[in-house]
Symmetry: C2
Subunit: 460 residues, 2 copies
């Protein structure tokens, strides 16, 4: 039996069978995605223990669902019937931070903010900063290719992953990628693993590229009467050739929810708040802040100013980070993650408003608007089944609109379970076939997070 | 017969059978790598014609070797016996340059410098700048994940590829990747294609990310008595936390060869010239130039100065670009492309000197030294077979040294044929198995540039 065999190869405290604990590891933050009860939870401390677990899953033809902190928003970490849930939250060593080579080597369970703090202590910066950074792990960030606030200027997790240690679908422990600045020795399998949501391998160590810490940022804030007006400001900033270090949208619903929870004394005088930042040094930063301010005003901001109060600016960014958990307190939230070309952001925001009205669904908006990545959050009263059906219809319309505008169904959260239908629409049959071929090549036993990202293949 | 069937599906002028022309398309610039005579050359004008050609190769179980300008240095484009050579040099349309979304869409035969010039006309910049940029094509750059001078600060081709149109190994024409700033819908198959040297698909269109044009650069030049001293200057710059926009090494042999060819009046007073650049604006740029100068001097530069003469600085960079073809005029050149961690650059340069002495082989050095990517060029007199054997032994020692120092056998040129042995040493059996699995999944008929990057699989 699987559990007996796991007990034979792992220290006893790695294996969890208590049903209450199993339940707590059965799903991530995607409340709408289905999940089952795992057969067992394994919390390994070493790569060898991960490898031993993978080998047992192969031996027993048992699905393996790997997860970190479980902050995912697409159901990618949800348990499937009878699976092993492999929780990497005890592999938290920061093995190395090298200021000369500008890289860090960490175990997958290191929390994003912990890595960032350790780097900062050496004058270094690990840019990817998902809103979940106080809780989410580097392993999870790698699995979903997490983005965040800084992406508009500094790119996503994949841009910072140099190398990985991985347990493969055949149970081998291997190193992919490199430690050098450049390298083209063979296929970019490390890059292929990033964003593959645990379906192609289990990451047991991550080598990330670092940057030097930045100069303090300037913040420009603006109030708008509508998301569309704020979207026009964002499109104007892109058209003006400015690449801000952050450009975030938060609407009144989000600010109110955060304020109700955290009592931060946030102003909610406006329908929509836009927050821009520049980290360009000296005069270049002044110029960027001025351009952003002009774009805000031309797009019809009811109020706009360069913030002289760093605390106030930080509070607004903190509120943006807390928007999702704050809204979750009000009822089940269905999270979109569409991303469209910058100049189509106003059009997309208008279509989101229309979808909300068409399906009588309450939508709150947060957005990494500078790179066209929009997160309309569809909120339903707890237990209202009809509202859920309407929200699902609005969700589907928004996905269809994003694809019609040349966008993608997921900018940074991943496909998981919630976006599988959208993925099929986005990729088309030829590209889906390539995905299935790669999946089968790297997971020949079909044990790695089965059913996530890709549904069953047509020949199964 | 294959050629009859190609003639049935392609316009007549796309098919080349003249033996002299076939010979001219039989190999790239890797003089030491083996090649055969192709059966036929196809020069398509559209993606549909590429697709028709791939389908005929599948039908007739005929190898397909795709190439652009043939400036590769590893034999990746060398013809194999009886193959079709697919030359994409007639697919030269720049379809789109979008200054707001900051992207360009081009056919694979567009020459790198032509794209850069078209972008510059709109105030935009396509950074990847291999030394071959006046001749090499974007398609070839994508196939090898080409680097260049700017990589030390701005990354390589892969960092700029957003999307690809590809003919797959099963003859489907598909789009991979995206046009949006972010996107995680499915596996990163566009990234997987980059650097795969025509072994996983044929690229028929490329969507690249662009940047805004930069401020003019400052140049700092220094003369050194040895490559090791220059390497110490480079390591000191990295340790000081400065990321130059270029940091290039050129030795006396290269300068002399360029001067003999182009009569540029280059000074060759020093054993080694180091060229650093900063494109940081304003005071930050002054500071970077000062730090570089100090690092040059501390490392024992016999002369160093910030260049006040832009023409002279440009001439030195031009000479660096011409070093390879200039040396080729003197005899067969065997090109290394090792890349090591920055702090080990002096050690690696010392080992290169030792390998040259040990095997009585003349070595000229150019290097993207700022990112640890070294190009010792092993030169042999034409027709001297013993010198060739000695050079090959030196080549192998240098590869072994790079791997011993935690480096890679190829930083930017690709594996092709010349670095296959090194690849096996670098990756090890577990990772090689993954490569073969991916290759088989995406090229099930085994027609795409067979034998390149990976040798035959052990079960073949």
């Amino acid at each position: 039996m699987l559990i007996d065999d796991l007990q034979a190869v792992l220290p006893g405290d790695r294996i969890v069978r208590d049903p209450d604990v199993l339940r707590s590891f059965a799903h991530d933050e995607a409340e709408w995605a289905p999940y089952a009860q795992p057969a067992v939870v394994v919390r390994p401390r070493t790569a060898d223990e991960v490898q031993a677990t993978v080998r047992q899953c192969i031996e027993h033809a048992t699905p393996l669902v790997t997860r970190g902190a479980g902050t995912g928003l697409s159901g990618g970490a949800n348990a499937v019937e009878g699976c092993v849930v492999l929780v990497l939250d005890r592999m938290t060593a920061i093995r190395e931070i090298d200021p000369v080579e500008r890289l860090a080597v960490v175990e997958p369970g290191v929390v994003n903010d912990d890595l960032r703090a350790a780097c900062a202590a050496q004058g270094l910066w690990y840019p990817p900063d998902p809103a979940s950074s106080p809780w989410s792990t580097i392993g999870g960030n790698v699995a979903t290719n997490a983005g965040g606030v800084c992406c508009v200027k500094y790119g996503v997790t994949r841009d910072y992953v140099l190398g990985l240690q991985v347990v493969t679908g055949t149970g081998e422990l291997v190193r992919l990628g490199r430690r050098t600045a450049k390298g083209v020795a063979g296929y970019d399998l490390a890059g292929l693993m990033v964003g593959s949501e645990g379906t192609l391998g289990v990451v047991t160590e991550v080598t990330v590229r670092l940057r030097a810490q930045r100069a303090p940022e300037r913040t420009v804030a603006g109030y708008f009467d509508s998301t569309v007006a704020a979207g026009e400001a964002a499109a104007a900033i892109a058209a003006a050739g400015v690449v801000p270090s952050a450009l975030e949208l938060v609407d009144r619903h989000c600010l109110a929810a955060v304020d109700a929870w955290k009592n931060m004394g946030l102003s909610a005088d406006a329908e929509v708040v836009l927050l821009g930042r520049s980290d360009a040094p000296g005069e270049a930063g002044d110029r960027e802040a001025t351009v952003m301010l002009e774009c805000f005003e031309k797009a019809g901001a009811t109020w706009a100013a360069q913030s002289s109060d760093q605390e106030e600016a930080d509070a607004l960014f903190a509120a943006r980070r807390l928007a999702y958990p704050a809204l979750e307190r009000l009822g089940p939230v269905l999270t979109e993650d569409v991303c469209v070309p910058t100049h189509l952001v106003p059009e997309m925001l208008a279509r989101i408003d229309l979808a909300a009205k068409r399906h009588d669904t309450q939508v709150a908006n947060i957005a990494h608007i500078g790179d066209g990545n929009l997160h309309p959050l569809l909120i339903t009263p707890t237990g209202d089944e009809d509202a859920r059906r309407r929200a699902q219809a609005a969700f589907d319309d928004i996905v269809a609109d994003a694809l019609a505008l040349g966008g993608t169904v997921t900018g940074e959260h991943g496909v998981g379970l919630l976006k599988r239908t959208g993925l099929v629409q986005e990729l088309g049959p030829g590209v889906l076939e390539l995905h299935h071929a790669v999946k089968k090549a790297l997971d020949p036993h079909g044990i790695l997070n089965p059913g996530k990202v890709l549904g069953p293949h047509s020949d199964e």
